[in-house]
């Protein structure tokens, strides 16, 4: 089972390489330049609850769930949705975005887990 998973992963990595190669021809595509922002989830709250990112930049959000329960990062404005299991990490890429405020919330505890991405003009 584990072996098969590994094989699949290798295959998928190849696929990824392939798509990356193809797409790098179409657009200026680079991974190294992507800034990473860490958001912790603790007691059904986002820390920090407000993150600031520059406009027109792609950003990698690294969500670290410190709670034992799962949480779902959800934002209609950012068009993003992702489940983060308890005691797990997850990555979401957002942007490049025009300046403005983009609220997000935790779908499973929406009354407490609230936050927003503030995109500021450079």
């Amino acid at each position: 089972m584990r072996n098969r998973c590994k094989q699949m992963l290798i295959k998928l990595s190849r696929l990824r390489l392939f798509t990356s190669l193809t797409l790098s021809l179409i657009s200026c595509y680079s991974m190294a330049a992507t800034p990473t922002i860490e958001i912790k989830i603790q007691d059904h709250l986002f820390f920090p609850a407000t993150i600031e990112i520059p406009a027109n930049t792609k950003v990698k959000l690294l969500l670290i769930n410190l709670d034992p329960t799962a949480e779902e990062f959800e934002s209609y404005e950012l068009n993003r949705e992702k489940v983060i299991s308890g005691h797990r990490k997850a990555v979401i890429f957002i942007g490049p975005l025009p300046p403005g405020e983009y609220p997000f919330f935790g779908e499973f505890y929406p009354k407490t887990a609230q936050g927003k991405v503030v995109v500021t003009a450079p």
Partner: protein
């Protein structure tokens, strides 16, 4: 909790219901029996259970974007399967199918529905499993799930009977159009997931209709689930949608053309 639960479950169920009702209508047209759907639902739910159970692990693949990549992979597989299915089985309405052909027809649909249900129902399992960790959420979540599932299944039943109520020559054509929308929707969702995982680069927004018809409205949710409506779709999503639709339509058209071109024996 209630409204979120309704929305999520409605979306997943409605997506599945549209696919299933169209395929069931084709089953009725072919008169090959409806038993396969029971098998597909059982397999799909089992698959969904296993998928949801291992989601935490799967999520950490490929630098923590395994969830998106796997889902996108499933969506694209369904789209390809649908286009193969359409090309092999829906292109020849006058064709008298053989026994083996019928078996392939059923197997194809069984596979498509099981795969689609695996992803869709796993989202429901994960959602309900996560939401009811807070005891105060249990009642609203479950009632919401009931309402969402009720609306989704009802819509599926009505679509099925409306399709069968059409004049017979229109049934296949309308079913085909609906299938192409499903395939387009799958492709569009896959591109969105791949963008979220940074496997696809950002592409510009095609239009913004969030003022006109917000995604967060009842109609917006319904249209999202049925035809993959997005208030701010990206260029790749649009492209994915068009390619998905064309794969189905061209595939069938092509077989019709091939069939007409082939010498009649």
């Amino acid at each position: 909790m209630f409204l979120n639960s309704v929305v999520l479950i409605l979306q997943e169920i409605l997506e599945a219901a549209l696919l299933i009702s169209v395929l069931l209508a084709f089953t009725r047209l072919r008169d090959v029996g409806h038993r396969w759907i029971v098998a597909a639902i059982i397999i799909g739910c089992l698959g969904a259970f296993l998928y949801a159970l291992n989601m935490a692990q799967i999520s950490e693949w490929f630098d923590y974007v395994g969830q998106e990549v796997t889902n996108a992979f499933i969506q694209l597989s369904i789209m390809l399967l649908l286009s193969i299915f359409a090309a092999r089985h829906l292109g020849r309405p006058d064709h008298q199918p053989s026994q083996g052909h019928n078996r392939e027809f059923i197997l194809c649909m069984l596979f498509i529905v099981s795969l689609a249900l695996t992803r869709e129902v796993s989202e429901i399992f994960i959602y309900i499993g996560g939401a009811i960790t807070d005891p105060s959420n249990v009642q609203p979540t479950l009632i919401g799930a009931g309402i969402g599932a009720g609306i989704g299944i009802s819509a599926g039943v009505l679509i099925y009977y409306s399709l069968l109520g059409l004049p017979s020559k229109w049934i296949a054509l309308t079913g085909l159009l609906l299938l192409s929308l499903v395939a387009g929707n799958m492709a569009s969702q896959a591109t969105l997931l791949l963008t979220q995982a940074d496997w696809l680069p950002y592409s510009r927004i095609l239009w913004d209709s969030s003022e006109l018809l917000p995604e967060n409205s009842v109609l917006g949710h319904l249209l999202y689930a049925l035809i993959g409506y997005e208030a701010t779709p990206s260029l790749y999503q649009g492209l994915g949608y068009v390619i998905g639709m064309l794969l189905i339509l061209i595939g069938t058209k092509f077989t019709v053309w091939l069939n007409n071109a082939a010498p009649k024996s």
